[in-house]
């Protein structure tokens, strides 16, 4: 098992995280035991962050003990791995608008002690601003909306200075007709209001028309 980043491991072109609750699966993934430690396999076709790791992300935004703001948590596939990475000391605030998706996430949050579920529109930061006494160390967003970059910029107030963020941009939900790089450059311009752009990763073999943009708050 080779260490890629803090809490992220790889072996034979596959990516793993240490299982926070040994013996428990979240979405039917493989469990691997090496030297007495249990790892969960991370599916790149189901998680955009893992896809980015596989396509050459140079920096990981999550680390153990971090406070993370996760926008667009959905049913908690990626969230469970983020929860593995930050460990018991970390906090993951999961924001999603859908009650039906939150049903599964709430069950996950009952088990995992570092998850904080919030049902809210990610555009309305005032709904969950009060929960952040200390500003977040990292911010991740996976929302397929037309104004996805704008939502990310609005939430930037909850991220500490110099904190890392990552946003998965789906170009098809912004414009069907425009070329995808055209759309991406427009979104990057919006992000540059609050962030410095560090890297752009194309998620092509795993997700079509998707990019992951790695940013650092100014």
């Amino acid at each position: 098992m080779q260490k890629l980043f803090d809490g992220i491991f790889s072996k034979k072109n596959k990516i793993y995280t240490k299982n926070l609750l040994p013996g428990k699966r979240v979405y039917g993934e493989k469990l691997v035991k090496i030297d007495g430690v249990e790892y969960r396999e991370w599916d790149a076709f189901r998680s955009k962050y893992c896809a980015a790791l596989k396509s050459g992300l140079t920096q990981s935004i999550f680390f153990s003990g971090a406070t993370v703001l996760y926008l667009g948590s959905a049913e908690g596939t990626t969230v469970s791995h983020v929860s593995d990475i930050v460990g018991e000391e970390g906090n993951v605030f999961c924001v999603d608008i859908s009650e039906i998706a939150m049903k599964k996430l709430a069950a996950l949050a009952e088990e995992r002690q570092n998850l904080f579920p919030i049902i809210s529109d990610a555009q309305l930061t005032k709904n969950y601003k009060e929960y952040f006494e200390k500003k977040a160390d990292a911010m991740f967003q996976d929302i397929s909306q037309r104004n996805q970059a704008d939502i990310f910029v609005r939430n930037a107030a909850l991220l500490k200075k110099g904190g890392l963020g990552a946003i998965a941009i789906k170009t098809k939900s912004i414009s069907q007709a425009k070329e995808k790089l055209d759309v991406l450059s427009g979104e990057i311009k919006t992000l540059e209001k609050e962030f410095e752009i560090t890297q752009v990763v194309n998620l092509e073999p795993f997700e079509k028309h998707h990019y992951l943009v790695l940013v650092k708050k100014k």
């Binding site: 140079t58 939150m102 709430a106 579920p117 425009k178 070329e179 790089l181």
Partner: protein, 330 residues
């Protein structure tokens, strides 16, 4: 540490409350049931069609077993449909006492499904209720100068049956107006006046049905029927005709003379679908045997990096991502 545990408990409790609130509404079950009903309709049709076809071939032996099972399943689906209808009627009566009597329960449930939720439906204006279920026609009308739809789901209303085309719009408008009022009564727990309203409606519509047909209406009906039969054929034959390069050039030369320096969207000799903008002229040119569709000056401008996108295979591959595009400075 304690504060963190407390915050977590508080958030878990709050999300549960929010979820319970969301799932407490009864209308979601009506919507699910009515969608299932329309699916079951088509399933039932398919199965009974298969059964009747098979029966003619006189199945024997193992085939007979399969055939009887098919028959049983068809019957079971029919009974499920019946039960669903009863469920919808019961629930609609409880949720919308006024609305379900004027609209009939299943039609009301369809309108509810189109609107999405009880609150949304109840706050809709009558004109929107009138065209619910005719979204395709409505947006075609807003975009392409097509005729506006007269009715959506309301077409299946029992009072709308047997009316000629030119009277349906008027009647749909009247019914939608009454429905809108009934919905507001239901939402704000108003009086139950639906039976009187329904009787009034029937009278009014009978009066409209008895009105004599004016010559203008007759003329319009003739034109419409013509459009739907012979006119349609003509249009398609015009569309499928191939244009020679000379014809095409002459057409555009004339266009340029009349419309000046070619500002605004380019015109084509055919009616094109809206939304298909001139993003990919190279695709279009194939239809006309190559050589480009329009004179050179009229080619649409596209950014250079969009065109070369497929060539830059290094982007997005490899362990370290080094974008080569000039517009990315990092």
């Amino acid at each position: 540490m304690d504060a963190r545990v407390e915050l977590r408990k508080k958030l878990l409790k709050k999300t549960k409350e929010q979820m319970n609130e969301k799932f407490a509404g009864k209308e979601i079950h009506i919507i699910k049931a009515v969608r299932l009903l329309s699916d079951l309709d088509s399933i039932n049709n398919l199965m009974s069609e298969n059964a009747s076809e098979w029966k003619l071939r006189e199945p024997r032996g193992e085939a007979a077993d399969a055939f009887t099972e098919l028959n049983e399943n068809t019957e079971r689906i029919a009974s499920e449909k019946k039960k669903l209808m009863e469920f919808i009627e019961k629930e609609m009566d409880a949720e919308f006492p006024n609305f379900s009597i004027i609209a009939t329960p299943v039609l009301g449930a369809k309108l509810l499904a189109s609107a999405g939720s009880k609150k949304r439906l109840c706050f809709m204006p009558a004109s929107t209720i009138q065209v619910l279920g005719a979204e395709k026609a409505l947006f075609a009308h807003l975009r392409k100068k097509a005729n506006s739809p007269k009715h959506g789901h309301l077409f299946n209303h029992p009072l709308m049956q047997k009316l000629p085309r030119f009277k349906r719009g008027k009647v749909a408008r009247i019914i939608a107006g009454k429905l809108s009022i009934a919905l507001k009564q239901d939402y704000f727990n108003g009086e139950n006046t639906s039976k009187n309203v329904l009787a009034e409606l029937e009278k009014e519509i009978a009066k409209i049905a008895a009105e004599p047909v004016t010559p203008k209406q007759e003329q319009r009906e003739k034109v419409l029927i013509e459009q739907h039969t012979e006119g349609a054929k003509k249009e398609t034959s015009e569309k499928s005709r191939t244009w020679t390069p000379e014809e095409r050039r002459a057409y555009f030369a004339e266009k340029n003379k009349t419309s000046g320096s070619g500002d605004g969207p380019r015109q084509t000799p055919f009616k094109r679908n809206e939304g298909n903008t001139w993003q990919k002229p190279h695709h279009e040119s194939r239809h006309f045997g190559g050589g480009g569709f329009a004179p050179r000056g009229e080619r649409s401008e596209r950014p250079a990096f969009g065109r070369n996108e497929n060539k830059s295979k290094s982007f997005g591959k490899g362990r370290f991502n080094k974008p080569k595009h000039s517009f990315m400075k990092f």
